[in-house]
Homo-oligomer: 335 residues x 2
């Protein structure tokens, strides 16, 4: 049975349900406006460990375990774990998931990871390959700064275009049957590279990828932005959001009434000194697993298009003068 | 329709076919015993670029383009590209695939990447989400040494347990219909960590993961090793192979007559001074796309169990004294 249509979209025959989700964040995220929506706010940014990398893995482990528990499922019932993060060789996910003994697919989509995991997870379920799947994504401010920028100890000043990597994790339990909300369609992004070279302006690199996936999604399904109550990108931040709205207006789509961005939701941008906004795999993952899923359950949002966005550079590619490719994966969810 | 059985295995309802494959390798691999099976042996280890990272991406780009061409498909017909590599933030794959404009899933399974990609790709096709998918994996000796070990310029001596990262790429085009060979089943690996800490002995870290996936595969499908003409692991090398055979004997399975390892096939281990054997994402990918697929097509192998293996460490995790988790994904292929 053919379930794909248009250029890049899949519509599910038996839409998988979001059975449960869990979110764990660090102290700074716990001081932001969404604090009430997270399951756990850890006062300890090291999560009891002795390195940033181990802290991220421990946060990921705890979040996935909590998600399975909230779904009422022993870990053995989880057929696949799909997980991604920003650290070199995905060590946040790999070391975080190693104790579970479940079939594991490591993903790399930078900050689009939760979108990639939810898309593939929904396809595995609708394809008949699993009853229960967990998609997970994590990021840690200190680990990301160490990996991509400068050691924290240097106290390097950040330009206003920079975003603040969320210390957080979101895990989503997908199931073949249940009450919903349901994943009804996904549009898988292609890599888009518009030539941005400034690694301190990821919003500018990612906005064209978000626009590309959005326009494809609307065309593939013959719908308009108003089909959705909310269209929520991953971590474009303020600069990326402005660019996205302009690009979409140029393409004939007005998103102004429905668009929000997880990077702008998670922090009080002025009060918390996060410059362009939040970013990182854990940004969209934790905001979805907490705040957005709550809104779907309360039917405050009935139709959501969730589009995690990722900038796909590394330190080596930036140092070699390469441009920054980006990607965005759209997941349509109906209450 | 439920297609999963046992603990970790999927059996396909309409087995996807391997429509075509392409392999491109570097000069050292072209001097090895499998040289005739590769599509292209590049005399230039830089592939015309000015960095190892760019060289790997260019090799990946050329291989995927060649695979689509050999399948007789314009790139627009490829519904998904799934690709993985060893570089930080998967830059080999991301930068290699960015020009194709196709929906992209970045994977991280270290050297198991081609097994992860073929498994997910087959599920996407059998699930009804695509007619054509390309799975790709690449590695580059110089990029891997720079990422994981020492700059080549230092001329650092390597211990006898070390393996030699293959400069190579294998791309596999999967299709919903065709003449075969067919992917009939997959067993997705769980992460196994037996406490090995020596990053120069990846065979020892990976052998328990290969054994775990193999035993699960046999139990899930109620078969014995003799079901297959060949059982071929990814890049265990000599030390890993010896360990795997011992672990399997302990578990009651005798693999000695059917087991080979891509890391031992690709080089003349004595003559080419590669110590324990070949490794890297490109090792199993290029050996499969060339040598093994040829044997399947000629029916010299009728039933193959292909098990790419990966060690999931990073430099940071090794430096922090962490053990080395590993994973292995089994793909059953019948001519």
């Amino acid at each position: 049975m053919k379930k794909f249509l248009g250029a890049q979209t899949v519509r599910f025959s038996q839409p998988p349900t979001i059975k449960a989700a869990a979110s764990i964040v660090g102290p700074k995220e716990g001081e932001g406006p969404l604090w009430q929506s997270f399951d756990v706010i850890s006062p300890d940014v090291l999560f009891g460990m002795d390195s940033w990398e181990k802290a991220e893995s421990e946060m990921a482990r705890q979040t996935v375990a909590l998600a399975a528990q909230k779904a009422g499922l022993p870990m053995e019932e989880i057929r696949y774990i799909l997980a991604g993060d920003l650290l070199n060789q995905n060590s946040g996910s790999t070391f975080g998931m190693r104790s579970f003994g479940r079939p594991f697919f490591g993903l790399f989509g930078a900050c689009s990871a939760i979108g990639e995991g939810m898309s593939l997870g929904a396809m595995l379920i609708d394809g008949g390959f699993a009853d229960y799947v967990i998609a997970n994504a994590s990021s840690h401010f200190c680990g990301a700064e160490k990996t991509f920028r400068f050691p924290l100890e240097l106290g390097t000043q950040r330009p206003p275009t920079a975003s603040w990597t969320v210390t957080g994790d979101g895990a989503v339990v997908l199931a073949a049957r249940g009450e919903g909300p349901y994943i009804t369609a996904v549009t898988t992004g292609a890599i888009v590279d518009m030539g941005v070279t400034d690694a301190n302006n990821m919003g500018a690199a990612m906005a064209p990828a978000a626009a590309d996936t959005l326009i494809t999604h609307f065309k593939d399904l013959h719908i308009q932005p108003g089909h959705y109550d909310k269209i929520i990108t991953g971590d474009l931040g303020k600069i990326g959001q402005d660019l996205l709205l302009a690009l979409m207006t140029d393409a004939g789509y007005d998103l102004r009434d429905v668009h929000e961005d997880c990077g702008l939701l998670i922090y009080d941008r002025q009060g918390q000194d996060v410059h362009a906004g939040g970013s990182g795999c854990g940004c969209s993952a934790a905001v979805f697993a907490g705040y957005l899923l709550n809104q779907l359950r309360k039917k405050e949002i009935k139709r959501l298009l969730f589009i995690p966005t990722g900038a796909l550079h590394s330190v080596a590619t930036v140092q070699q003068g390469e441009t920054m490719p980006a990607i965005a994966h759209a997941v349509a969810i109906e209450a």
